[in-house]
């Protein structure tokens, strides 16, 4: 079974803090993704990475950055957290082969005060 793990289930931070969200997958997948999930908006892609040290902006990259130094790990960074970044953050991974399924982690619910 594919396993995608995220470092925290719940996180509370203060405005202006730097926040790191970590994601690890154990299936040697090339592609990894960060989404945020908000009620009524579904999942929106923040960033994705198709290989180590490679990244592309998704639909809502503003206020976020990412790091992929190792194939299994994909980090999402909030340089200076703001209250409008309070959300559920989901990580996903997928093989680069065509027609492959994306597998999701359990999510990190972030509250920025």
């Amino acid at each position: 079974d594919v396993k995608v793990t995220q470092s925290s289930r719940y996180l509370v931070k203060r405005t202006g803090e730097k926040v790191f969200l970590e994601c690890v997958q154990d299936m040697d997948h090339e592609n990894m993704f960060w989404y945020r999930q908000d009620p009524g908006l579904g999942l929106r892609l923040i960033y994705f990475s198709y290989d180590v040290k490679m990244k592309e902006k998704g639909d809502i990259p503003e206020g976020y950055s990412v790091s992929r130094e190792k194939k299994e790990r994909f980090s999402l960074i909030l340089e200076s957290a703001s209250t409008n970044q309070t959300s559920m953050y989901l990580c996903a991974s997928r093989s680069a082969l065509p027609a492959e399924t994306q597998y999701f982690g359990p999510g990190t619910r972030l509250l920025v005060l």
Partner: protein
């Protein structure tokens, strides 16, 4: 920009009722289509997917979906729902973007099944 529309935001059914959740997308090229489900407190997980071939796709737990290319639709169906089907359902479309095909999700449909 590509988009995915789920017309029903919240559906409430009684057990044994039939279910159909609508999904339309706005991309004219070749697409891969997915339905994901998120049970309360659990991971998002794949329910079914369509890549090619038979447009009627069967998934887990008795769900099925039909791809109708002319209508740009991929509606999810189940003939008889159970209380355990209470969850949020997301339709997603796989479209090309740079070096990776990314998923575009609909806004989700919350299904509540009353016992």
């Amino acid at each position: 920009a590509q988009s995915v529309s789920q017309h029903n935001h919240h559906v409430i059914l009684s057990e044994a009722a039939s279910l159909e959740l609508g999904c339309n997308y706005s991309y004219g090229g070749t697409v891969n289509l997915f339905w994901y489900v998120q049970y309360p407190g659990q991971h998002l997980q794949l329910l079914l997917k369509y890549f090619s071939g038979d447009p009627l796709v069967k998934g887990i737990k008795g769900f099925e979906a039909e791809f109708i290319k002319s209508k740009f639709s991929f509606n999810l169906r189940k003939p008889s729902v159970q209380w355990s089907d209470t969850a949020e359902y997301f339709c997603a479309v796989n479209v090309p973007s740079g070096s990776a095909r990314q998923l575009t999700f609909g806004s989700g449909t919350q299904l509540t099944v009353l016992p």
